[in-house]
């Protein structure tokens, strides 16, 4: 039996495209205006900034106080492997988390 390929352009896909466009528009509309102040482009990112950049793209950020310093070390190794974080960035993130970690 030869199956004919049916090309289905569902209503759902159009709704999704619409939702994407609406979301994109809202994000851009409510985004903070570009900074006019000149910033040093060579400034290295802090551990807190790297934490926001890398971790928040998959899950809400956890508070540093939620785990102890030793637990953060374990968790950051786990996430370095799972999310393929560069070692140097993982070390800065760990330092930031350990500075305010719980006892």
């Amino acid at each position: 039996m030869v199956m004919k390929k049916q090309k289905v352009i569902s209503c759902g896909s159009w709704m999704l495209v619409g939702a994407c466009l609406i979301g994109l528009g809202l994000s851009l509309a409510y985004a903070a205006p570009p900074e006019t102040k000149k910033t040093d482009t060579k400034k290295k990112l802090t551990g807190a900034e790297l934490y926001a950049i890398n971790c928040n793209r998959c899950h809400p950020e956890r508070y540093p106080t939620e785990f102890t310093s030793a637990q953060w070390k374990t968790i950051v190794i786990h996430m370095r492997v799972r999310a393929n974080l560069p070692a140097a960035q993982a070390k800065l993130i760990l330092k930031y988390l350990q500075e305010d970690s719980g006892n």
């Binding site: 400034k43 900034e49 950049i53 793209r57 809400p60 190794i77 786990h78």
Partner: protein, 461 residues
Amino acid sequence: MKMRSIILSVAAGCAMGLLLPPRATAAVSDDDFNALKNQVQQLNDQVQELKREHQQDGVTHNEDQMKIQQLQQQVGETQMLATNAAQKAEAVSKVQSAYPIPASGPGARHNFTMAGDAEVQFGKTAGQHSGFALADFAPIFLFRANDNILFEAGFDTTLQNAGGPPGTGGGANTTFSLSFAQLDYLWNDYVTVVAGDMLLPLGTYNERSAGWLTKIPDAPLLDDQLLPGSGVGVQLRGAVPVGDNGQSLTYAVYGVNGPGSVTGSGSAFQTPGDPASGANLDLGSNVGILGDGTQQNLHSNPSGGGRIGWFYPWKPHYDVELGLSGQSGEWDDAGNHLWSAAVLDAAVHIGPYFEVKGEYANTWYGTDDAGTVHPHGLWVQAAYKLAGLNLDFPVVNDLELVNRYDHENDGLGTETDRYTAGYVYYLTSTLLFEGDYEFLHSRGPAALPSNLFVLQLSYGF
């Protein structure tokens, strides 16, 4: 003469007395005298204060001397212990192997941590009774030996209705499955060695699919049905930072046993020529241990695969990630046919409120009786946090709207389109109340059930 000298002396004395200036005391006033007296009194007070301080210093000095003596005694004891330890180490070294295995290191601090997630789900399939569908507890055990070695294992413990014909009282099943169990060795800053049962980096969903991360309870069709979730083998992976803005290039290469065959044959269906018997391709069960206890690969060669990715953030919460991954290897026991997959994944974040991501997978495998089968599919998911509207409404600000479009073709005559619309309500950052409605349009011999409504409470820990 003598008398004369005396008289002259007396006269000279009188003359000098008259010529000398008046007595000094005569020039000091009472005020000056009192001021001087006060100064003398103050000096006297200061001398007394210095005396007291000197006495106190003396006491402190005595205490310091005692402490110094105690410390000297402790140093002596420590030196004795060190000497004994050196002697013991020397004695041990005489009985050890000439090539001792390096220890974890003097800085090793073993640590055990548990992370993971838990879910409770309520669902209703169109035309059927609603009910609480499952309770799921998925812990991840993390055991760190030192700064470079981590063992991690994820389990999935699920309670579900046992099913069975109506009225037979099938009861409930508790399934306890190993999602992954892997040993991670951070070889250096750029290479991590992973071995064991690993989540495979075919796309990104596999590795980021915990219940509190996905925003939609059900997995995309292609990740659920077209791609293997895990494999037993070895992997090298790592990342190279590019510049100082957080940009990175990532890679992963691995070898695993790869997919197998349900019946061992290379037939497309479990019963050759009968689509109703189900596909013969088994994506996940080739773990090297057979039902009779023997250990062997189901086919002669392992599968190889990998992923390369590029992550570019231009500022926090604004980033793009692209990845290309693939895997190929024999799947039938005779090793006559290859199963291969190519996956393209992408994710974009524009601000902390909007994200869109998706995957496209193209797979193909040879069969004895149906030629090359060509399963493929894609999904695209968009989400927007209403907090981005700045409405200052507590409930609205904790809501995120989610939409996803799925398409899957199993290559054996079944094709499915699914549109999912849902929400995530953040009770806390890790406790989520999710809900969605799935519009299904599925046709073919393995068509999926009808539309579905799902509510889920997810907790990440």
